[in-house]
Symmetry: C2
Subunit: 217 residues, 2 copies
DNA sequence: CACCAATTGGGCCTTCCGACCTATTCAGGA
DNA sequence: TCCTGAATAGGTCGGAAGGCCCAATTGGTG
C-alpha cells in the first residue's frame, strides 16, 4: 500500500527536490501546491494520505492551511516543514493538528521516515524540537485548553507593548492603543528592560527581534 | 568536460535535492558546505568550477563568502541562491562578484542552465530580477572603479552612528566612540531620521536592520 | 492562607531626545 | 568657480524617556 503524498511549498526548487526524493522513497506524489489556498483545495480533491506542508507560504500560511485541512475532515495527515525551529510556530502547528513538524535541516531520509510514520498515525518531529514538542503534547494531554505559548520570557502584556514600540509607537501612543496610562507603559518597559537585559527601548526591541518575540513590519 | 560543482546551503534538505538534481543534470557535485566559512574553505580545497551558494547561511553569509571566494583567486564562479528577490542583496551579490543570482522559485532546470552558463563565463539571473540586474551591471561597466557600495541611503558616517546605536550605545557613548561631540551625533541622527523615514532611534535602527544597513549583534 | 507575579497606577526627578535655528570647513561635481 | 553634500559644532526648548520610590487589585500556586 503506497502512501499518497501531497507537497505544499512555495519554492519550486524545494518542491521538485522533494518530489524526486519522495518518489524514490516509494511514495506516490499525487500533487503539488505552491500556496496555502491551493494546498487546501488539492487536499480536498485528492485526499492524500499525507501532506508535506511548508510553514511559510503565500495566501494562507502552512499552519492555517493545516488547520483547515484537519477541520475539513478529509483525513489527511499533515507534516509541517519549516526553515527555522520556532517554538511559537511549533506550538501553533501542534494545536492546528499537525502530525509532524520538521525543519528543513533534516535529511531526505528523515523526511521520508517522518512521512511514513505520519501515514501510520504516528507523530514525528525534528530531533532538536523533540523536547519542546513533548512538553507541548503533554500539556495538550493533561489540560486540553489553550495555553498562551509556554516559556514566555516577557509577559503577554509586555509583548504587546514591545510590538507596538517596534511598530513605531511612542509611549503615549502605546498607552492610547492599550487604553492604559503612560505610567503603566513605562512600568512594563522597565520590567522588559530587566528581563531582556536592555537599557532603553531601542535595545529592548532589537533583543526582542533577535529572540523572535516581535516581528519587524 | 563536466562542470565541477560545490553546493553551499545550510538546509540539508535543499542540499540533497540540489545534489540529486545537479548530478542528474550532468554536473559533478564535488562537495557540500553548510555554512559560509565551510564554503570558503571547500572552495579553496576543491577549486570547483561553480559554487551554488545560498545567501542566508550561518557563520558567514553567502554574499560575504562569495566576496572572499572571488578575492581568493581560486577562479570559481559563484551563483547565488536566495529565498527572496531582494534588490539590496542582489546589488551586494553583484558587487561581490557573483556570476548569477537566482531565487529558489526557479525550477531545477533553470538552476542547471544557470550553472552551465556560469561555468561558461556568462552571468545569469532570475527573470524577475533581470531588469535591476542589468541596471546594476551597467553601473559596474560604466564606471568600473571600486565605489564604497554605491546607492548608499545613509552616508558612511551615519552608518557608523547607526551601527553603534544598534550595538547599544547612547548618544554620549557614540560621540565618545567616534571622537565627535554629542551635537554632531544628534545631527547625524536627525539626518538619518529623514532618510529612513523614522522619527526616533528605535525606528531608525529597525529600518536599518530591515534594509540590511546594520547587523544585529 | 500566604505568597508571588502580572497588571494597573501615582509622584518626582534627571537626563535624554528630537525639532528648529545657525555656522564653518572641506571635498567633489556641474 | 560656484554650489551641493558631508561632517563638524553650537544654542534653545518642550516633550519623552528612564530611574526610583510607592501601592492596589487580581489570579494562581504552594
Amino acid at each position: 500500500m503506497t502512501v499518497r503524498l501531497l507537497l505544499a511549498d512555495d519554492h519550486r526548487l524545494l518542491r521538485e527536490g522533494l518530489r524526486r526524493s519522495m518518489s524514490d522513497a516509494g511514495f506516490d506524489v499525487v500533487g503539488e501546491a505552491c500556496d496555502g489556498v491551493e494546498a487546501i483545495q488539492l487536499a480536498g480533491e485528492l485526499s492524500p494520505d499525507v501532506i508535506l506542508m511548508d510553514v511559510t507560504m503565500p495566501n494562507c500560511d502552512g499552519v492555517e492551511a493545516c488547520r483547515q485541512v484537519i477541520d475539513s475532515g478529509v483525513g489527511s495527515r499533515v507534516v509541517m516543514l519549516t526553515m527555522h525551529a520556532d517554538q511559537e510556530v511549533l506550538a501553533d502547528a501542534i494545536r492546528a493538528g499537525a502530525a509532524g513538524y520538521l525543519t528543513k535541516d533534516c535529511s531526505t531520509r528523515e523526511i521520508a521516515e517522518a512521512v511514513r510514520m505520519a501515514a501510520e498515525g504516528d507523530t514525528v518531529l525534528s530531533p532538536q524540537l523533540a523536547r519542546s514538542m513533548l512538553d507541548e503534547v503533554r500539556k495538550l494531554d493533561s489540560h486540553a485548553e489553550v495555553d498562551p505559548s509556554q516559556e514566555r520570557v516577557v509577559s503577554k502584556r509586555e509583548e504587546e507593548v514591545l510590538q507596538l514600540i517596534a511598530d513605531g509607537c511612542s509611549t503615549p501612543e502605546v498607552a492610547a492603543q492599550l487604553y492604559i496610562s503612560q505610567k503603566t507603559v513605562k512600568n512594563h518597559l522597565a520590567s522588559i528592560y530587566q528581563k531582556l537585559d536592555a537599557r532603553d527601548r531601542t535595545q529592548a526591541v532589537l533583543q526582542a527581534v533577535r529572540m523572535g518575540i516581535v516581528s519587524l513590519s
